[in-house]
Symmetry: C2
Subunit: 395 residues, 2 copies
């Protein structure tokens, strides 16, 4: 099938493009290189060096004899988005092309506005282009488990049957997230659901958990195919950051109690979930939601697993939580629909953790420990981004 | 109390500013005149001519000896918004300053993007300015009953207690609206609720029904104090449009079955609801929601009431519904919290309808019947705005 991957140069977009290409699909990608730009802005960089997109695509063609076409442009530019989709004429659009960091969105007013405008307008333009060019295109949109927040009831997959005052309806699952980034995805979901209703579009909203890992079978084939490995407090996902801290002999910094529970998944499962969603499209007019994660852990549990798996001495430090989130909460989220469609999860095991240890060891000299500490505080409306000291207390 | 009315030159913003000023409050208003600009764009105009803002303010000062300070600027300009709030230092901000027409938001891609960016970014900037300058400022934000859509369960005031799999939580009421305009207000509500949680702001979200009427006790005092009377299919509210059609001997055009039920309120109640909300502020950190309407009717019931009240012959024509909305649906919305705080509703009566008939009679020569027919179709992604024929079938 012809698949257009928006944000195909990013941490997950690139491995997804490879995975779909290797699965026999005709893959095109588009990117505006915003993610590489955030590195410049924040003075951070991927621990594993990443090749330019041209080189990635060229090396993949040499290795696989399969071609990935690439386009450079910005989805908030409606003319670009429309001409892109008109030229590629995909059957499926996989949409990763959003600013994806909660701390980045909370830096200050310009970053909050940028995040919401970039994400919401980009997605609106994709919806209009699909409706205008070919309403049968299946939109596979990356959302976040963080959209739900931490309700005191079980989290269902996008919809909730409610009985109230003797009457029953199936409603959109109510969401109460914890950052302007997560809110941008809540806004997207509402806009997409309406477009399915008004224009009979078909969409799958993937509420993804926190991704860990850096390698897939395909990114390992050549250094030019590697994807990002972020460990900084703004763009690094929590497990990846804790791994790097362990290898560097730095305390594993856990925000607050560490009892915050989150859904997680292996990067190898992310790419497979996208393939499954693409190959099993939503029906016309259907707004379908999958919760895309495989296991749920508390942050403290993650830190303890890393401490126990690592050969050296590891301390865990509970630091002041820069975010506004519940320290103690109920959490139980349904995640069966992708499994029902055939996902076979890679559970978090010592094997995966050990592979991350070895990736980190071989890039250890590039680690900047100044990037570990949270530089953005939710309670403040303007945070200084960049390394600065944080009070840490040993656990 | 010192109150800043954002959008204070609009249909409801202006009468609200007068009402608050007359109630003894120290009122400032800000506006970017976007609403007057839409008239130019659409070739439509208020049936009752409206004075420039400078004249409105001057005449009000002559009549009342009370001063309303006015500022001109755009809330999407963060520097303007911050300096405005810093200069006025209000205790309450009443926020009407949004693009408020569902059909306008559905004209095409640029109008959808404009509506969402204008409304969401303006509100984000207000939230940041409040958090930075004085987090005790009470934000009174105009939302819409249309945000809820037409669920098959009773509509509560913003929050819903849900029991699910044996556990209970109070969640944000799930919303499923019917236009990109209404979605922009859903996005606002989510952003505001988060700002209350993260920054301890205080907000009242007023989910307002469809407003009818054109006069308050104060706008009647002088022609320069009059507010808008819109009857066109883009900005005219439904009851006002039906009144003008009756007086012009035009069939009252009802979309589809006319069985769509909506919450409604008299413009005199709008201004009083705002006063009540301002004088009874939400607590620190509280995101409070009031459903601001007084009665619910079907569109067909409204048309029949107008037909029965008008002295001349009136036909009702059911035309193809340009919107995507349920033709037959359950509707029962709670609206007790403003009543509990003292609102005494003006119910829709022949008196009000008769006053609208007489306003229309005296401006009858200015009516452009070409503006009655819907020019924007939800099913299309690009509609031609402006008068054009629609198939009508007599009821």
């Amino acid at each position: 099938m012809r698949i257009l991957v928006l944000g195909g140069d990013g941490y997950l977009g690139w491995p997804t493009a490879l995975h779909l290409s290797a699965a026999g699909h005709d893959v095109a990608i588009a990117d505006n290189f915003a993610r590489r730009g955030y590195d410049e802005e924040l003075g951070a960089t991927s621990l594993v060096s990443i090749a330019p997109l041209d080189e990635r695509v060229r090396v993949w063609q040499e290795i696989s004899n399969r071609r990935i076409t690439s386009f450079v442009g910005d989805l908030t530019d409606a003319a670009f988005t429309t001409s892109l989709i008109d030229e590629v004429r995909p059957e499926t659009i996989v949409h990763f092309a959003e600013q994806r960091s909660a701390p980045y969105s909370m830096i200050d007013q310009p970053h909050a506005v940028y995040t919401q405008v970039n994400n919401v307008v980009g997605t609106l333009n994709v919806l209009y282009a699909i409706a205008d060019i070919d309403p049968t295109i299946h939109l596979v949109k990356l959302g976040s488990m963080g959209e739900y927040g931490t309700p005191n009831i079980d989290i269902e997959e996008g919809w909730l049957e409610v009985t109230h005052k003797g009457r029953t309806d199936t409603v959109l699952y109510p969401k109460r997230p914890g950052s302007f980034y997560h809110l941008s995805k809540v806004h997207d979901s509402h806009n997409i659901e309406f477009a399915c209703r008004a224009w009979n579009l078909r969409a799958t909203d993937l509420n993804q958990g926190i991704v860990y890992g850096q390698e897939t079978d395909l990114t390992k084939l050549d250094p030019a195919l590697a994807t990002r490995f972020d460990y900084d407090a703004v763009f690094g996902t929590v497990l990846n950051r804790l791994i790097v801290q362990a290898v560097c002999g730095h305390p594993l910094t856990v925000y607050g109690s560490g009892h915050q529970i989150r859904g997680m998944l292996d990067i190898r499962d992310t790419v497979e979930c996208i393939r499954i969603a693409a190959e099993n499209p939503a029906g016309p007019g259907e707004f379908r939601v999958f919760n895309q994660f495989t296991e749920q852990f508390s942050v403290l549990q993650m830190a303890e697993m890393i401490r126990d798996a690592y050969s050296g001495t590891v301390h865990i430090a509970q630091i002041e939580n820069p975010r506004v989130e519940a320290a103690e909460h109920y959490y139980n989220a349904v995640h069966s629909r992708l499994m029902d469609l055939g996902l076979e999860p890679h559970n978090l095991s010592d094997t995966l953790i050990n592979s991350l240890f070895s990736i980190t060891e071989s890039n250890k000299e590039h680690v900047d420990p100044g990037l570990f500490d949270p530089s953005v505080r939710w309670k403040a409306t303007s945070s200084s981004v960049g390394p600065h000291p944080v009070e840490a207390t040993a656990a």
